[in-house]
Symmetry: C2
């Protein structure tokens, strides 16, 4: 069926979102059309407001509405340890664990020669400058355990260690609540490598 033009356009735009296929885009579009004008306006407004008011923190690169972000501004956080992540979503995930009380650095991706992404395309320069200021003692690299994430972790360790900071990597292993039987071999291998005395 040929949708009326404004509906087709809406489906097309929704379909561009990650993980939203044509069917889901249709369902969402019909839901929006079936709802009130107020609801649609609230959604559209939220998109625009967020995009207009949320910037990247000039220090760590995290999403924020005030620059520097509230983590960088928080004097109660441990200024001597920086956790390096791929993107702002990872900051949110780590914050939810309430385990880490230091600062962050958002790389904006990982080194990936296949995709043409080199160290200069990431915020590695900025990270070096933060470390060179001298108060940082440890860098925890929390990039994802993918080939690119590992390569980036290694690269960072190589350029950061000469500056006299400890470079650590978060542990990889069996997820808590996970079942050994269903763990892939790489994760299992990592779990053995990272074993600790109890």
């Amino acid at each position: 069926m040929q949708y009326p033009e404004p509906l087709a356009k809406l489906v097309e735009e929704l379909n561009k979102l990650p993980g939203i296929g044509p069917k889901t885009a249709q369902r969402l579009a019909f839901h929006i059309l079936g709802g009130t004008l107020e609801d649609a306006e609230k959604l559209a407004e939220a998109i625009l407001e967020a995009k207009r008011n949320i910037k990247n923190c000039s220090i760590c690169g995290n999403f924020t509405d005030n620059d520097p972000c509230r983590i960088c501004r928080n004097v109660h956080r441990d200024q001597s340890i920086i956790c390096v992540v791929e993107n702002a979503r990872d900051v949110a995930a780590i914050e939810r664990s309430r385990e880490f009380r230091g600062l962050y650095h958002v790389l904006g991706g990982v080194i990936s020669p296949v995709d043409g992404i080199g160290p200069d395309d990431l915020t590695i320069d900025k990270l070096l400058k933060r470390v060179q200021k001298g108060s940082v003692k440890e860098i925890v690299v929390a990039t994802n355990p993918t080939v690119e994430g590992e390569a980036t972790a290694l690269y960072l360790s190589r350029i950061l260690k000469p500056l006299g900071v400890n470079v650590t990597r978060i542990a990889h292993g069996i997820p808590v609540g996970g079942d050994l039987e269903y763990a892939d071999e790489v994760t299992l291998a990592r779990a053995f490598e990272g074993r600790r005395e109890i």
Copy 2:
């Protein structure tokens, strides 16, 4: 983590969409923030444009940007047969099959006493008026094969038959490409009930 207010608001609004849980809402919000302002504006604009310009057709109730909708206006379509569906999404699905060349009638739901939805909450009155005009010979009831959908089909058949129209129901059975082994009992029972000579 406490998201900055505009981001939290965006996640909240996206989370209201059907099938979009908190995690997906977060992923979408971060995607929107990571994209260009232009993309965000296009999405917001598409939502508003669709909601402002798409109305329900005054005849059949389908979504349209021109009233009556292009199906109701199309003189090449069979004016003697009306397919009754629960909502506008169903019209789109049936149109995609290119099997049906008549007109539609969108009920706006199904009779569901548990949810407090009676015949008066649907567009059944409008359907009766369309039938009373006299040119309609058949009503195909294509409500979903749920308890409520079946009850609605029965109700429609009871009030429409006295008006001298044929009331039919679409067939239910094993989906094409489906596997007998995985079909539920009700579907299998329907497949047997609806068997035809070959």
